[in-house]
């Protein structure tokens, strides 16, 4: 705990900003049912009411802070619930992608030979398909349930994670402490878990941050195409899509969930940048 606080002291201002954005978003996601003024699906007013501080705002109690969406639901509440679904989904998907990708990557690097060959060529084949097309095909065949969505995106993510973790593990695998563990008679699992993983952690955590953003944007993109989460469940991507028509009337409502996506992505990247800088071991000389 003390080291965590110490670490925070050395974080630069941009990473702190990013951290604040993430904390706020996660808090929203966690406490949405208690904090949100309205429920996810409740129709509270007219279609596309403007934000509360505009001249044409319609008074409500509790106030409709960011106006209403295309069905007259409270946009602010839906953003909070959306954070829950979008971030939660992205987290599960990224974790799954990393679990599978890193495990297979380490396995290929430690076992080498035909295991490596088989896994690497398999990944090559998967990577040969454009990601969006691949996801579209699978989702249209298997149906758009949340489970399928998670598995498909995790699989796509896992191929990228596999590549990076295999490369990192290859470098570590030739170190003498790994050789020394093998000479002790250690098994594969120990070598992967205790010798390679701790040393591959910093590049992988940095990659986790980036990958998280990609998953997040990918879900938004799929939702935008109608293959993501199904209505009336709120997620930021679908919220942009459902409200997209408003733009033609000069109403700015769809930009609000879009801004939320952008903000979280930027916030996360600020933290990741800082972490990458830390992990690279570059000295800051004043």
């Amino acid at each position: 705990m003390r080291t965590a606080i110490n670490l925070l002291k050395h974080v630069n201002w941009s990473a702190r900003l990013g951290l604040a954005v993430i904390v706020i978003n996660v808090a929203c996601a966690f406490f949405a049912p208690w904090v949100a003024p309205y429920s996810e699906t409740e129709v509270v007013g007219d279609v596309w009411e403007p934000v509360m501080w505009s001249a044409e705002a319609v008074p409500h109690n509790p106030p409709v802070i960011l106006g209403t969406d295309q069905l007259g639901r409270d946009l602010f509440s839906r953003l909070m619930y959306g954070a829950r679904n979008t971030i939660g989904l992205a987290l599960v998907t990224t974790a799954l992608a990393f679990g599978v990708g890193a495990l297979l990557g380490f396995l290929a690097a430690t076992m080498k030979g035909w295991v490596d060959m088989l896994l690497s060529r398999g990944v090559d084949i998967l990577m040969a398909f454009p990601t969006l097309i691949f996801a579209l095909v699978v989702l249209s065949v298997m149906g758009t349930s949340t489970t399928v969505l998670i598995v498909v995106i995790a699989l796509i993510g896992a191929t990228r994670v596999y590549r990076i973790s295999r490369a990192v593990a290859m470098d570590i695998e030739v170190m003498e402490y790994v050789e020394s563990a093998r000479l002790r008679g250690e098994g594969l699992w120990w070598v992967m878990k205790d010798e390679i993983l701790p040393n591959a952690l910093s590049p992988l955590v940095a990659e986790f941050g980036l990958r998280f953003c990609f998953v997040f944007l990918f879900i938004s993109a799929l939702s935008f195409l109608g293959l993501g989460l199904q209505p009336p469940t709120a997620d930021w991507g679908s919220m942009v899509r459902e409200n997209a028509a408003a733009i033609s009337f000069g109403i700015l409502t769809p930009l609000i969930p879009a801004a939320a996506i952008a903000l979280l992505t930027v916030g996360l990247n600020l933290v990741v940048d800082w972490f990458l800088h830390k992990a690279s071991g570059i000295k800051d000389v004043p």
Partner: protein, 547 residues
């Protein structure tokens, strides 16, 4: 005209380095002076600041370092605070630099002659043709093969020792007044080291060039320097004429440096001498093509130390890889306590792994940087003996005491330890398995002399106490003399000679062993000319090391 004789004067030099987010003093008020044609040896352990001072003599500091105060005057020009143009005109032409690793200092994409001529032509000191002529002259003086065409080769086409000599030639290209040699022979084999050292001495003597020679090896500096300055922790310990420093050192630290080379302490005879390891007629190759071990046979008795010596490429490390099973041999067999063991690691029992432990040259890479000392030493305990909890903790502390480190090291990471401490942790990790044989692969070559001496003493004590056998792989003959019961001399994958240490180290010598033994620098300024003469005699008999 003593004023004109003075080439370099450094006065009260302070250099700071940026580390762990703060500036620390690395060089603390060092003063020195150098006359024309004189050679000053800077000697000290790593971290003594000797390289910093060497670079500072050119008005340069490494990135992340800065000169905070003091003055550096080269031939009447103040270098501290001098503008880049002034420095640029001096560097390479009037002050030259020879780095430790020639291989890393040459551009692999250009011929040697182009790199030789670059500075001289660029600075407008001579034409390309003149530079070429000069190169041939220097190549000849430095004893390089085929001096007429040597320059047409690329860096990868010449050996390490030749490349280092070529770098000396390059430094001499513009007839500089001063050359900084930064550990120019440290990365070389003992036998090659002599040749490079001889060449350097010859050429700077002939041209009357002044030099600063940086090294951690007192015996090397004794051969070449007129004066020696001993440094420690960025401060001067003592300075004096070479003979005076070596024959009557004033400070304890210098005496300690000189005493390291003394021989082994007491050994305990463990009585019954069963054979722990036997290697019979082993042949090994990389890729089934390049034979690196050719019919090697040897054996190790319990509680004894067998040293394997040879130059790099002689196959001594490969022998260790074959014994541990990392490289299955293509012929021959390895017996451990009379039992034939499988050639590769596959199929070897845990018990075989336990009884045979290995310690590496680079303790840095042999310890997982993310594991604490507790885990590093504790793992063999739980892995081999199933120890847990208090029992394991107590045993770890016991082992830490054995290697003279103690309980406070339990929670440290390898990054918090010095080189010598790391190597001790490696020893403790090997001991934790309670092995019968420990293979030591150049374990002291990366350490400073004093630290290495401590490690050897520790190994000796442990052997007396535990009757463990060592297979000691090294190229350092002083180490061999200090610890061996038996010696195996290897050359190009074959055993040249093996037997009890006394027999190998005393006349009559096997010619190759003679060559190796005579290459180990002695703490005597008149040793180099003698050994060069001895070498010519050996060469006349047809024994030559040039590969």
């Amino acid at each position: 005209m003593s004023d004109n004789q003075r080439l370099l004067t450094i006065d009260g030099l302070f250099i700071e380095g940026y580390q762990d987010e703060q500036w620390r003093q690395v060089v603390k008020g060092v003063s020195l002076h150098l006359d024309r044609g004189q050679v000053l040896g800077l000697i000290g352990e790593s971290g003594a600041g000797k390289s910093m001072i060497g670079l500072a003599s050119m008005g340069y500091t490494k990135p992340g370092c800065r000169i905070t105060s003091g003055s550096i005057e080269f031939d009447g020009v103040e270098l501290v605070g001098a503008d880049q143009e002034t420095l640029r005109k001096l560097r390479g032409t009037r002050i030259a630099y020879v780095a430790q690793s020639a291989a890393a200092s040459f551009n692999p994409a250009h011929k040697l002659i182009h790199q030789f001529a670059e500075t001289a032509v660029q600075q407008g000191l001579m034409s390309y043709a003149e530079a070429e002529k000069k190169a041939k002259e220097l190549f000849r003086r430095l004893d390089l093969p085929d001096p007429e065409n040597f320059g047409n080769r690329y860096p990868h086409q010449v050996s390490g020792g030749q490349l280092q000599r070529c770098m000396v030639a390059m430094a001499m290209a513009c007839n500089p007044d001063l050359i900084i040699f930064d550990e120019p022979t440290t990365a070389l084999d003992v036998t090659t080291q002599i040749e490079v050292l001889g060449a350097i001495k010859e050429v700077i003597g002939a041209y009357g060039t002044a030099a600063i020679y940086i090294t951690h090896d007192l015996a090397i500096v004794a051969q070449i320097a007129d004066r020696i300055m001993v440094l420690r922790h960025g401060e001067e310990v003592e300075t004096g004429d070479t003979r005076a420093v070596i024959n009557s050192p004033k400070k304890d630290y210098t005496r300690a440096l000189l005493a390291v080379r003394k021989h082994r302490g007491e050994t305990v005879d463990h009585g019954h001498q069963d054979i722990i390891l036997e290697v019979q007629n082993v042949t090994a190759a990389y890729g089934n093509k390049f034979v690196v071990l050719d019919g090697v046979s040897t054996k190790i008795e319990r509680g004894k130390t067998v040293s394997v010596v040879g130059e790099s490429g002689s196959g001594k490390s490969t022998l260790a890889r074959v014994i541990t099973g990392l490289l299955p041999p293509i012929g021959g067999e390895v017996r451990f306590q009379g039992q034939l063991i499988p050639p590769g690691m596959k199929g070897r029992e845990k018990e075989v792994f336990r009884r045979m432990q290995m310690i590496y040259q680079m303790a840095d890479t042999a310890l997982n940087p993310k594991h604490r000392v507790r885990k590093i030493i504790g793992r063999p305990l739980s892995f081999y003996f199933g120890m847990t909890g208090k029992k394991r903790e107590d045993r770890i502390i016991e082992l830490l005491d054995k290697i003279e480190l103690g309980e406070k090291y339990l929670d440290r990471f390898p990054g918090d330890l010095s080189g010598g401490e790391k190597q001790r942790i490696c020893i403790a990790r090997a001991l934790a398995a309670e092995p019968e044989l420990i293979i030591c692969d150049e374990i002291t070559s990366a350490l400073d002399q004093l630290v290495a001496g401590g490690i050897l003493k520790l190994l000796q004590n442990l052997q007396n106490e535990l009757a463990v056998s060592y297979l000691f792989i090294t190229h350092d003959l002083d180490t061999v003399k200090a610890i061996s019961d038996e010696i195996v001399v290897m050359h190009r994958g074959k055993v040249v000679e093996q037997g009890p240490a006394q027999a190998i180290l005393n006349p009559p010598y096997e010619p190759y062993t003679d060559l190796l033994l005579s290459s180990a620098p002695q703490m005597d300024p008149s040793w180099l000319p003698k050994v060069m003469q001895h070498r010519r005699e050996l060469a006349a008999k047809g024994i030559n090391l040039q590969t």
